[in-house]
C-alpha cells in the first residue's frame, strides 16, 4: 500500500484499470482515443483544453500528462499559462456567479 494518495508512477498504469472491468475500460479508451484525434479542433488545441480542464478537476496525473502533451504538440509556455487562466477564470467565476443566488436569498429574507 502506497503511503501517499498520488504516485507519479501510477500514471503509466492508467491503461491497467481494465483489469477489474475490461469491457467498460475498452469502451472508455476507444472513446478517449477518438476524442483526442485531430478534428475540427487541432490536436494542440485539444491538448490545451485538456490541460485547462485538468486544473479544474485538479488531477495531478492529468496535469502531468497534458503538460507533456501540450509541449509535444508545439504549444508555447504562454499558451499553456493562458489555458490555466481560462480554467481559473471559469472556476472563480462559477463561485462568484452564485453570489447572485446569495444576494437574491438575502433580499428575500431581509426586511
Amino acid at each position: 500500500m502506497s503511503d501517499t494518495y498520488y504516485n507519479p508512477k501510477d500514471l503509466k498504469k492508467f491503461e491497467d484499470v481494465g483489469e477489474f472491468g475490461p469491457e467498460l475500460a475498452e469502451k472508455f479508451f476507444d472513446y478517449y482515443g477518438a476524442v483526442f484525434e485531430e478534428g475540427a479542433l487541432t490536436a494542440r488545441e485539444k491538448a490545451l483544453i485538456a490541460l485547462a480542464v485538468s486544473h479544474t478537476v485538479q488531477c495531478p496525473y492529468c496535469i502531468d500528462a497534458y503538460t507533456t502533451e501540450s509541449l509535444e504538440k508545439g504549444a508555447s509556455e504562454e499558451q499553456m499559462m493562458e489555458a490555466v487562466h481560462v480554467a481559473s477564470a471559469i472556476r472563480g467565476g462559477s463561485s462568484l456567479v452564485h453570489g447572485v443566488q446569495m444576494m437574491n436569498k438575502t433580499k428575500d429574507l431581509s426586511m
Partner: protein, 350 residues
C-alpha cells in the same frame, strides 16, 4: 558556456556515455536493447539501402554553445576539416553517384575552406545542403555575405530554430539567439529563400527544448508557419522535427534534471518498426572532420566508426564496400526510431 570537453566533464568520454545508456541504473540495465528490437522485426544486422547523402561534419567549432548540442560544439572547440581532407571528399564525390552533400558542424561556415569547397562541389553538380545555426549569418561581415553566396550556388539552407517563441529559443540556445535568427531569416527571405516563386529552399529544424518528444511534423510546420508569418512576416519551405538523442550535452541535461530513465523509457516504448526501416544511417554516410567514416553524426560523436570490413577513412572511399557494411547500433539509436522517426531530414515513418 564551455564545452564538456574543455570542462573535462566525464560525459565528454564517449565510452562513458554508452556505459550510462546501458548501465546507469537497474531500470536502464533491464531495458530492451536496440539490437534486440531490430531482431524482433528482422532488421538485424542493419544494412544500408545505398548511399544517397554524403554528410560532412567539417568541424566542431561553433559561435554558439547550445544546451542540447550532441556535438558538444562551441567557440572553444578547434577541430576543423583540413583542405587535404576536403580534397579527398571531392575525389570521393567525383567517383560516386551520390547527389547530395550535407554540410554540418559546429557552424560549418566557420571552416576556412567552406566557401572554396561549396564552389568545388557545386561544379560537380552536387546538391548542397548547409546546416546553419542562423546566428552566424548575423555576426562578422564575412559571414553576413553568405546568404547571397548560398543563393548564387543554389545551396539549400537548413537552419536550426528550436521554437517560434523567443523565451524557449533563447533558453536552449543562448540569450539573443531568437532575435539574431529572425534577422537572418528575414535576410534569407529578402533574397528569395523560402519563397514560392524561387528554387531557393529554406528549411527549419525544430527539436524539443526539454525532455519530451517532437510533435507531429505536419502540424508543427503549420504552427511555425502561422506564428513566424504573424510575428515577423517570415516564410520558409519545410519544418523538420528532430528528436533529441540522449548523448553528449543533452545526455548531461537528462541526467542533471533527473529525466534520463523516463526519457529512455519514452523512446523505447515509442519504438516504431516503420521508423526503424527508414533510419538515416541506411542512406547516409557521415564523414568526420578528420576524414573518418561513420554511419551517422551521432555515431561520430560516440566515436563509433563504420564496421571494420568497410573503409575507415574518406581517402579509402569504396562505395560498394560501404554499401555492404553492417551499421553499428546502440541504445542512443532509439532516438531515431521513436514515434514518427527522426533524421536530419525530419520524420522517417511513412
Amino acid at each position: 558556456m564551455k564545452s564538456l570537453k574543455t570542462l573535462e566533464h566525464k560525459l565528454s568520454d564517449p565510452a562513458y556515455q554508452l556505459d550510462v545508456l546501458n548501465n546507469y541504473s537497474e531500470a536502464l540495465k533491464n531495458q530492451p536493447k536496440f539490437k534486440e528490437k531490430l531482431e524482433e522485426i528482422d532488421l538485424s544486422p542493419l544494412k544500408p539501402t545505398g548511399i544517397e547523402i554524403f554528410q560532412m561534419n567539417v568541424g566542431y567549432m561553433c559561435n554558439m554553445t547550445c544546451k542540447h548540442c550532441h556535438v558538444d560544439a562551441g567557440p572553444d572547440r578547434d577541430e576543423v576539416m583540413t583542405k587535404e581532407t576536403f580534397e579527398q571528399c571531392l575525389e570521393a564525390l567525383e567517383n560516386s553517384g551520390v547527389e547530395t552533400v550535407d554540410l554540418t558542424g559546429g557552424a560549418p561556415e566557420m571552416n576556412p575552406h567552406f566557401r572554396w569547397f561549396v564552389e568545388e562541389a557545386s561544379k560537380l553538380g552536387k546538391h548542397i545542403i548547409v546546416r546553419s545555426n542562423l546566428t552566424i549569418l548575423t555576426t562578422a561581415p564575412k559571414y553576413q555575405a553568405l546568404p547571397e553566396f548560398f543563393a548564387e550556388h543554389g545551396v539549400e539552407v537548413t537552419c536550426s530554430l528550436p521554437f517560434y517563441s523567443k523565451s524557449r529559443t533563447d533558453r536552449q540556445r543562448g540569450e539573443g539567439t531568437y532575435d539574431k535568427s529572425v534577422e537572418a531569416l528575414k535576410k534569407l527571405n529578402e533574397i528569395g529563400y523560402g519563397k514560392d516563386d524561387t528554387d531557393l529552399e529554406l528549411n527549419l529544424v525544430y527539436n524539443p527544448a526539454g525532455a519530451f518528444l517532437p510533435g507531429d511534423q505536419e502540424n508543427m510546420e503549420k504552427e511555425f508557419k502561422r506564428q513566424l508569418d504573424r510575428k515577423h512576416g517570415i516564410t520558409f519551405n519545410n519544418l523538420f522535427t528532430i528528436t533529441n538523442l540522449p548523448i553528449s550535452r543533452y545526455l548531461n541535461f537528462l541526467m542533471e534534471s533527473g529525466n534520463l530513465e523516463e526519457y529512455m523509457d519514452r523512446l523505447i516504448t515509442s519504438f516504431n518498426p516503420a521508423a526503424a526501416k527508414g533510419v538515416m544511417c541506411r542512406d547516409t554516410i557521415s564523414i568526420g572532420w578528420d576524414g573518418t567514416l561513420y554511419d551517422c553524426d551521432f555515431n561520430q560523436m560516440l566515436e563509433m566508426p563504420v564496421a571494420d570490413n568497410a573503409p575507415q577513412h574518406i581517402s579509402e572511399w569504396n562505395e560498394l564496400k560501404l554499401n555492404n557494411r553492417q551499421i553499428k547500433v546502440n541504445q542512443h539509436c532509439f532516438g531515431c526510431t521513436a514515434g514518427a522517426g527522426s533524421s536530419c531530414g525530419g520524420t522517417t515513418a511513412e
